[in-house]
Amino acid sequence: MEKYTKSYRCIDAPLLGAVYLNAINWWFYDSNLSNQPAIDVTNLRRLTLQAIQSSYHRPRLSSIEAVLLLLQCKPEDPLNPDHTFAWGLTAQALSVGEACGLHLDASDWAIPIWERKLRKRLSWALYMQDIWTALAHGRPTHISEDDWAVRDLDQDDFLERDRLQTEGKQFLYMVTLSKTLYLVVKRFYTQKSTALQDTVELFAVAEPILASLDSWYTTLPSPLTMDHLPPRQLYSNGT
């Protein structure tokens, strides 16, 4: 964010494009933009995708940030979304991420602390993108437990800024939930495990997972509980 305040040119093109694509949903909330025609989203999407994939020849962390953001935004045809393409992009992101070492434990690497934290957050973001997309589209997850060495997140892995307090917590809790989802997918939704229809056996596997899910839910801190209304400012960025 500091880079952006200097000039938009300091931000890598793929990332800039992806941020704009997401922000466009709230074009009309800005008093300066709302009376102007919206930009050409189709073109922006094409350019952003092109920029992302070009960057894959020498990928940077911002390439992965960009593709993850791109995967959040409203599809070109929301009622007939291109799931196959999205899943392909997700798997590609994971593969390129692996090339960047995002499946490894970077805590001892000779890199600045901010990069260590960013890597961790990005790793888990990739993990979540893969597992939720696999679930939603009915595809096999490409994350393998044996090859995922990333350590668990904690509060220290987030930037020290008040505004990100709640968002950091949300991210953290979303990650722990996603790890449970990974278990659910592996136990119930793989090609092998879907053959199991014996209720008694399924129940035995399900009980502990359901119990841990429910206990996780009770630990949600107060800014994340349902009775907590969002402030009047809308959240216009994905984390």
Partner: protein, 193 residues
Amino acid sequence: MYAGNIHLAYYGVKINILRRLVRSTALAPLCLDIPMLGSIRQQAHETAQRATSFVESLRLEHLDAFWYFAAPYLFSLVGSFCTLLLVTSLTPAERDHWRETLSSYLWTLRVMSKSNEPMHYAVNRLEGVILRGLEHVLVVAVDGTSPVAFEATPGNFEAYINGFGLTFTETDGFDVNFMDRDAFDFLSHAPHY
């Protein structure tokens, strides 16, 4: 990211576990553990109830907030789970309850969908597959000795959604004949589980 995403995601994970359990009760091998069946049914009821209430409680400022990419699928999933409970209902009263819940949920989605794209997707998807009777087609062989008394005479009982009195006359300009079937790979894979 709005906190509603966390709750929706939680229901998503829970429902995905429960629907495997519920569906297995309608398929061989037959489960004879009555307390277990009761527990599954009760947890499923509670979860479906809470999930639909959660969605119905959302307000305009929530609808306009950021919903992550899986939201369209998750809103659909809640409806899909309700239809599963509908077709596996054990009594007419239960069936009526789920028919009512489902109708109310779809109505809520339809009304809110003007302000929320993920919900728009979900309601079109759900109404589309329900209209075509694809949602949760279960062929259940019922014999006289089964302790699980589906409301049918012995023989083959084809439980599909339109057989439960749910008809949709309003398609909101959505032409069933021209729907792109390839796009619906979410729920069309779901009945295999």
